[in-house]
C-alpha cells in the first residue's frame, strides 16, 4: 500500500513555449522544485506561482476527465494532468509545447474552434420508434461497442496528432479528423439510430484521407481503439456502399 517516495532530482527544468504567435514566440526555461507524485500540470502551477504568473495554460478538472489540458510534452501529445514526472527523464529539460495543429492563442493555449465547427456538421441521433410497450430496448453487448466511443473526453489530441491536418493545413476543410470519425461511428453503430451518414463520412468528412497510420489511437488518453474500432469499420461500411463490386452486382441483379 505505502509506496516509497519516488527517487530522483528535487528540481527540474521546464522548457515551456511562450508567446502569442508561432513566429515570434520562444521556449523559456524555468527551474522549479518538484515533489513526489507530481504531474506536468502541477509543475506548471508552480511555475505560475513562482516565476510566470501570466503563463497561459488551459485546464479544468485535473483528473483526466475533461480533456482540457492537452499539450505536447517532450514532443508527444499528452494530457498534462495525467503525465507524471516520474515517467519522464528528469536530467534533461522537459519540453512543453502547445498543440501544433491548432492556431495559437497564447503560450500553451490553442484555439480549438476547428473541432466545434466540425461537430456542427454531423447529423444528430434520430431514434427508431419505441417498442410496443413504450420502452426502448438495447442490450449490453450492442451498447458496449458504442460506449467505447462515448468515452471520448474531447481532448483533441487525436486531432492534434493526425498528420492529415497537422502537416497539411489545406486539408482542414475536407477532413473532420479522428475525433469525429469516432462520433460518426458511435452514431452509425447505435442500435436505435436511423440516420445514414455513410455518404457524408466519405464525401464531406474525408474518411478517405485517413491512411490508418494509427497515431490517433497511440495518443488517445481514454484508450479508445480509434482506428480499429471506429475508422476501419466506417471505411468498410463506405466500401459496401460505394466500392464493393459484388454489392454493386447484387443490387443490379436484384434491382435495388
Amino acid at each position: 500500500m505505502t509506496k516509497a517516495p519516488e527517487a530522483g532530482p528535487r528540481e527540474v527544468t521546464m522548457r515551456v513555449w511562450r508567446g502569442e504567435d508561432r513566429a515570434s514566440g520562444a521556449f523559456a526555461d524555468h527551474r522549479v522544485a518538484v515533489d513526489p507524485g507530481m504531474v506536468i500540470l502541477d509543475v506548471l502551477f508552480r511555475v505560475q506561482a513562482t516565476s510566470a504568473p501570466d503563463l497561459a495554460v488551459r485546464w479544468n478538472c485535473k483528473a483526466g476527465k475533461c480533456g482540457s489540458c492537452s499539450a505536447e510534452v517532450n514532443g508527444r501529445p499528452r494530457l498534462m494532468c495525467m503525465t507524471r514526472l516520474s515517467s519522464l527523464p528528469l536530467d534533461q529539460p522537459i519540453t512543453v509545447a502547445p498543440m501544433a495543429t491548432f492556431p495559437l492563442v497564447r503560450d500553451l493555449v490553442t484555439d480549438v474552434s476547428f473541432n466545434y465547427e466540425k461537430a456542427k456538421t454531423i447529423p444528430a441521433f434520430r431514434p427508431a420508434p419505441k417498442d410496443a410497450d413504450g420502452t426502448r430496448r438495447m442490450y449490453q453487448e450492442e451498447v458496449e461497442r458504442v460506449q467505447e466511443f462515448h468515452k471520448c473526453i474531447e481532448c483533441f489530441l487525436c486531432q492534434d496528432v493526425c498528420h492529415v491536418i497537422r502537416d497539411h493545413e489545406e486539408n482542414k476543410e475536407a477532413f473532420a479528423g479522428p475525433r469525429f470519425f469516432v462520433r460518426l461511428a458511435a452514431l452509425e453503430m447505435h442500435p436505435l439510430d436511423t440516420n445514414d451518414r455513410i455518404e457524408l463520412a466519405r464525401a464531406k468528412h474525408g474518411l478517405g484521407y485517413c491512411n490508418i497510420t494509427k497515431c490517433c489511437t497511440e495518443v488517445c488518453p481514454e484508450d479508445i481503439h480509434i482506428t480499429d474500432n471506429a475508422i476501419i469499420p466506417l471505411k468498410e461500411r463506405v466500401v459496401t456502399e460505394f466500392y464493393d463490386p459484388l454489392v454493386w452486382a447484387k443490387r443490379r441483379l436484384l434491382g435495388r
Binding site: 513526489p36 505560475q48 497561459a56 495525467m82 420502452t135 468515452k151
Partner: protein, 614 residues
Amino acid sequence: MDDLEYDVVVIGAGGAGMRAAIEAKAQGARTAIVCKSLFGKAHTVMAEGGIAAALRNVWKEDSWQVHFRDTMRGGKLLNHWRMAQIHAQESPDRVLELEEWGAMFDRTPDGLILQRDFGGHRYARLAHVGDRTGLEMIRTLQDRAVELGIDVLMECTIQKLLTDDGRVAGCLGYLRQSGEMVLLRAKAIVLATGGIGKCWRVTSNSWEYTGDGMAMALEAGADLIDMEFVQFHPTGMVWPPSVRGILVTEGVRGDGGTLRNKDGERFMFWYIPDFFREETADTEAEADRWYDNKKDNRRTPDLLPRDEVARAINTEVKAGRGSAHGGVLLDIASRRSPEYIRSRLPSMYHQFKELADIDITKEPMEVGPTLHYMMGGIRVDPDTQATTVPGLFAAGEVAAGMHGSNRLGGNSLSDLLVFGRRAGLHAAQHANAQRAPGAVDPADVAATERRLAAPLERAGEDPYALHHDLQAVMQDLVGIIRTRTELDEAARQLGDLRRRYDRVGAKGGRRYNPGWNLALDLASMLTVAEAVARSAALREESRGGHTRGDFPNSDPEWGRKNVVARWRDGRIELTTEPLAQMPPDLAAIVGSEPKATEQTAVESTAPAGLGGHR
C-alpha cells in the same frame, strides 16, 4: 466590446445550464449559453456514479415516494419538500429523455436501463454508464444543444448581472482568449454556475468552481440560503499530494467495496446513527448478503449518507487509526474479481494506476474526505426556479433547497436535469412575456470595466498567494467539524484577505492571463467564503453537512429554519427564516424528525461500544 442581445442567456454549461438552454431554445427563445471553459468540459463530466431516478427497472418496489423519502431523510428534513417531490417525480422522464437524444446507459438483461446502488438510496436506483455517467450526460446534452443551434460563448467569464429597476437586463463578462469585455442583453438569465469548491484546498472540484453565480446573484439582490451546508465527499484520493482530493466514486462501495481502518477493521459498523439504524445492517454478514438480496437484508453502513461516512473517516483518522497518508482504506480488491472491478469501475482503475501507481484490483485505495458539493446557494421558487430578482433563474448546484443539509449521491445529476429544464422553461416563458430587455445603465458597464482592468494596472498582492491563503482559512477553520472560535477566526481572517484583495495585482496583459483571471475570480470566492463561515457560525446545531463540535446535537428548532444571506449596502446580512412546511400526506411518507440526538462521530465513542473491541 461585443454587444449581443438574446431572450434567454444561460450562464454555465454543465448539466443544468445545458438542459436549461435546450428547453429555452425548444420554447422558441433566442438562447445563448455562456461557459467559463470550453463547451463540454464543465464539472458535470466528473460525476461518476449515476443519475438517481425511480425507473423501477431493477426494483419494482421503488417509486417516486421512496425516492422522495430517501432524499428528505438524507437531507435531514431541511430540504424544500416541493423541490424534493418534483425531483423524485420527474427524474425518470429526464433520464429517458437523454436516451431519446442518444445516451447509452448500461443495460439490464432484458434491455432496459440498469440501476446501481448508492449511499442513502433504499433501492438500486442510479442509471449509469460504468463510472463516467456525467460525461455521457454532458456529451448527450452538448450534442443536443449543437443540433438545436444554440449560440455558445466559450471561455467567457461573466462578472456582473445588470438590472434595470430591479429586474434582469443582461450581464457583463470577458472573453478569456482575448480579454475583451462582452455585454449580453437578455430578458431572462439562468444561472447554472455550479459550486464553490475552489475555496478549499482539498476538493474534487475543478477550477471553475469559484462561486461566481452565487456572488453575482447576491449582489443583484437575490437571497442565498443554507450556505453552511457543504458536503465533504468521504472518498477522495489522499496520495500522492498532488492528486489529493480527486474523487473516488461512491460506486466503489455500491459495487462491493468496503471501508477499513489501518487495522483492517470495517469501522463503519461503529458509526450507525439512530436515524438510520432501522435500515442499516449491523453485522458484516448481513451487510455482505445485502448486495445480492435486498429484500431480506439491510444495507451496508458503508453506504450511509455521505455526511455520516465523512465524519466517521474523520474520526478514525483523528483517533490514530488512519492509513499511512492520513486517510482510511477502501478495499474492493479482496471482495470482487479483477475482471468485475475493471468492467464496473474502469476510470477508477485507470485513475489509481496512472496517478498513484496503485492497482485497485490488487491493493486497497487510500481515501479521505474531500470537499465535493455545495448544498446551499440561491433561493429559488421550487416550481419555476425563479429567484427573488425578476428575470433571474437558477438551477443545479448554484441553487439551494433541493438537498437540504446533505445531498445523496446520484441526486445531483437528476437535480440538474429536472430543475435545469424547469429553469429553461420558465425563463423562456418570462422572456416571451417581455417586450424588450431592460435598459443597461452605461455607468454599470463603465464601473465593471474599471473593476476588471484594475488588477492589471497595479503591482500588488499576488493572486496565487491570496488564493492559497483563502484555501488555508477555509480548509483549516471551516472544515468538517466546526467550532465557534474557529469560525469567528475564519471570519476575521477573511476580512483581512478582503483588505489584501483590494490591492490585488496581476502581471501581463488581458489575453488568456490566468493570474488576472484568478484575481477576478477571487472576488466571488471571498464573498461566498464569508457567507459560508458566517452562516456556519449562526447555525448552532449539527445537521447533515454542517457539524459543530460545540453543538454536536441536532436541534428541532433549527430544523425548521433556513439561514438566509442578503446583500445590504455592500455587506452580507444574515437572518433566519422559517422552512416551508410539508403537507401532511408527504410528511407521513417521510417519517418523523429525528429526536435531539447527537450526530455520530463528532466524538469517537462508538468503538468502545462494540463488544469490548479495544
